[in-house]
Amino acid sequence: MEISSVVKIKNLYKKYKDFELSVPELVLPKGYATALIGENGAGKTTLLNLMAGIRLDYKGEISYFEGINATEGRVRERIGYVGSGNYFLPRWNAKQIEEISEILFEHFHRDRFRELCEELNLPTGFSKGVAKLSDGNRMKLMLAAVLARDTDFLILDEPASPLDPLMRDKLCDILRDYLDVGNGERSVFFSTHNISDMENVTDYAVIMEHGTVIEQGFVEELKEKYVMVKGEAADIEAVKKIVVAMNKSAYGFEGICPAERLDEMAGMDISVEVPTLSQICVALMKANTRLKLT
């Protein structure tokens, strides 16, 4: 299939203290939802901040919508960014956020914002200010403010984390609806630790470790590239060199293995399954982590 891109990143580099972000190339498909997955400290938020224009100290190039450079102001109009708790001034209330958004963005729709606040069951008016809201409600508020605008690309930093299971389901609906309305012109890029909850809205996955991208692809392609293998304990030693990562016990093992290396297990008593995205990601993270795993 032919797919155009929404973001192109080239030779992106940023160093901060002992952390290094280095992405030689990253192209996100237009019209789809892309998940950014990785350990704490892998550089997900840094990458999203650079893309959203919250941070400007980097080397390299980020361009949007087939050729508009990220540094051009007009591109901000078309991008909706939802960040961490550091987002609104702590004393702002609903009314102020409405007013400030109208000033900050050309296509902010007050009615839509109110509808969304109601739809997401935000405390009406919340005159006390953003600081008094719970993390979940603050996330809903950021989403409402961003979705009340006409945008073509959403950058969401951990949108699912502070939300309850029902609201995560709703978030998936919201994102699918956003893509549907865009009819191929709108795209979403979100980071997440809740891969299972978000899998049914994830089209493309980017997996990061230590400031760089270690794997990426359409989910359905990744599920063909990797397979889940289960087998007997006796084969563990032989399989160890083939699998990306595995869980083993006295009873047997299960591991993720590149499909092209399945031949090397010929003759072993194994069963093969299609893995979930979460299983693939955890295996890849396990293979690259600096965590001490036993």
């Binding site: 959203a52 400007l56 550091n86 702590p90 102020q96 400030i100 000033i103």
Partner: protein, 206 residues
């Protein structure tokens, strides 16, 4: 200017505006009306109140990694909005103080039939204003209420001291006014520039 005022109104809360534009001046004028014949007594309160209330507005904005600015940063107009707000803020401070002192002078004239424009209005205004703005320059670096209180008290004390020195030692209110006029302009410019520099520094690791 209309854009800047609009920005100021969006960034400040109605409660804050009610306080600094309504309640605070009213209380000052009330205090003067009830207790005092000397306009300068207000110097005890004005810089203090101006500095302490700032923590409900832009407290801690000059801090490294100051909170709550990402929404502004994510818009191409965000920094313009913030600059507008900061400019309107210093102007608002000047006019609030001018309004309070002006009303008190009018009252004094009705009461005593005499009022010194330099002694009772211009000099106290410039003194009060420059010290208020100097105070917020310091307090905006950190979001601690006790710092605000200390700086607030300090500014009020210093202003009383200057007022005393200038009128007693024959330095003269005229020369004093000239000095504080220069300081007023200087502090106003620095207040806007410094806050913007700190906030824009947030785009980089500065």
């Amino acid at each position: 200017m209309k854009e800047k005022v609009k920005s100021y109104f969006a960034v400040t809360s109605p409660g804050y505006r009610f306080f600094v534009l309504g309640l605070m001046p009213l209380v000052f004028v009330g205090v003067y009306a009830v207790f005092s014949e000397k306009v300068r007594v207000l110097m005890l309160f004005i810089p203090f109140a101006e500095i302490v209330t700032d923590s409900f507005f832009l407290g801690g904005i000059q801090e490294k990694d100051a909170e709550g600015l990402d929404y502004l940063r994510s818009s191409s107009r965000g920094m313009g909005v913030l600059r507008g707000t900061l400019i309107v803020d210093v102007i608002r401070r000047f006019f609030t103080i001018a309004l309070v002192l002006g009303l008190c002078c009018v009252m004094k004239w009705f009461r005593l039939g005499e009022v010194g424009v330099m002694d009772d209005f211009i000099f106290p205004l410039l003194l009060c204003y420059s010290l208020s703005v100097f105070g917020i320059l310091i307090t905006r670096f950190r979001m601690y209420h006790w710092v605000n209180l200390v700086v607030g008290y300090g500014a009020s004390m210093i202003s009383i001291m200057f007022l005393y020195l200038v009128t007693r030692d024959g330095f003269g209110v005229l020369r004093g006014s000239a000095v504080f006029a220069v300081l007023s302009v200087l502090f106003s410019v620095v207040a806007v520039k410094l806050a913007m520099k700190r906030v824009e520094g947030g785009y980089y690791d500065k």
